[in-house]
Amino acid sequence: MTLNVAQIRDQFPILKRQVNGQPLVYLDNAATTQKPQAVIDALVDYYTQCNSNVHRGAHYLSDEATKRYEAARKTVAAYINAGRSEEVIWTSGTTEGINLVANGVAQRLKAGDEVLVTEMEHHADLVTWQQACKRSGATLKVVPIHDSGELNVDAFHQLLSDKTAFVAMPHVSNALGTINPIKELTAAAKAKGALVLIDGAQGVAHGAIDVQDIGCDFYAFSGHKLFGPTGIGVLWGRYDVLAEWPVWLVGGEMIATVSYQDATWGELPNRLEAGTPNIAGVIGLAAAITWLQGLNAKDIWAHEQALLKRATELAEQTQGLRIIGTAPNKIGVLSFVIEGIHPADIGFILDKQGVAIRTGDHCAQPLMKRLGVPGTARASFSIYNTMDDVEALFKAINKAQMMLA
């Protein structure tokens, strides 16, 4: 089977619009994906039919909202193969999920402990751990990468020791597209007794995720990179770890009992979800996952890889263009620089031609420094992109080269 891309495109209303007088070629999917009509409808339906606060109202709408909200938790749990749905904690996104974990880790770390991250971290999975180390006196160790953008696995094993209390790494590099061997690395870290968090922001939208198979303790991701709304994300954590995790935000919903001078915490998942949650976001995310489950994960993978292969071929034929990130195992991300042209200039000229990409440091300043580039231009592909989009990208790049030369 192959993906019916025309049919998929039909379900994304935004892809029909024009920008700068040109048909939109949306290649900024690693930043955020567009939303199918099913997600938009779920949000509208929630607000027009069902809006109510969850878990506390003694009335019909509240019951219905609560049912939809908790059903969404089960949908997410099934999608990532969580052991129990209480392991799914709603967050505002990957960043909040990692902060929730880092806050707890910082309370438990002591001087002499080590936290391991990689050179390819997004700031969300670097600054969090750097600050947790600063607060606790622990040491941050950074696993190097090869020039290809692959993780130096030997160095990972060498840096791992009995002192390693925590390991955080991206499933997939946002700037380069590299897919890390997270299962193997997680097993090695667990063997040393470390807790492991996977930053799944770029990992969730390209194939099936099985958190139990990965073997990690935490997996964090954002709904908006998975065709869902912004402002909703998931922190999955192993039940026995989360049940004892230091509480993050305190307030309503997360407590068991409260007196003026003291409080006790509720059970999972509530103890880590203070305040009124993003109910519409939760329902929208579940709609996105349900919609995505209607497609074959292998077909999605094959389609995105075909786009990447064609884009890589065209990139290699483009004079002066250098691909940044050449790992053999990549998602559909093409990061590149062009000799003598700043990435921002490429971005400006592509935009005028209707081609949306991202340029800059991709929230990975130390990685850009490590790679010796001021930033890159990054095209990232998703299920609704076509070979025509890839051709349009390179036509636009050629024009940018002509104008900027």
Binding site: N20, I341, H342, P343, A344, D345, G347, F348, I349, D351, K352, T359, G360, P374, G375, M403, L404
Partner: protein, 135 residues
């Protein structure tokens, strides 16, 4: 520094009617701006934009403020020329009296020629205005 005046820029742009011509004009302005020698690309002069670096140095000469800028992106460099046309070699009073928003509206150069965080223009305009106010 040989800069066009804001009136000259507005006149030039009035004759260019598609985006390619307008952008080529901005690119050519950017290439013509002298920029700064590498050793002056110091952090203390850096005005952080989201997608490219911009450096700004100011000095006073005969009661007027002189601005020397550089960017590592040529289109941003061109946009900076538009800004310097308004501010370079002017008194602090002239700088503060200049209606930059109206000027950008008149330029009518669509998205990127408006001061946004992305291209660093807003930051540079703010910095120049702050320098003029402190003067």
């Amino acid at each position: 520094m040989n800069l066009p005046s804001t009136d000259e820029i507005l006149d030039d742009l009035a004759f260019l009617d598609d985006w390619e011509q307008r952008y080529q004009y901005i690119i050519d302005l950017g290439k013509a701006l002298p920029g700064l020698p590498e050793e002056q690309h110091k952090d203390e002069y850096l005005v952080r934009g989201c997608q490219s670096n911009v450096w700004l140095i100011s000095e006073e000469k005969d009661g007027k403020l002189q601005f020397h800028v550089d960017s590592d992106a040529v289109i941003v460099q061109g946009l900076l020329t538009l800004v310097l046309a308004a501010y370079h070699d002017k008194t602090a009073e002239q700088i503060l009296a200049f209606d930059i928003d109206q000027y950008f509206n008149q330029l009518d150069l669509e998205n990127h020629i408006t001061p946004t965080r992305g291209n660093g223009l807003r930051a540079i305009v703010n910095k120049i205005q702050t320098i003029a106010k402190a003067h």
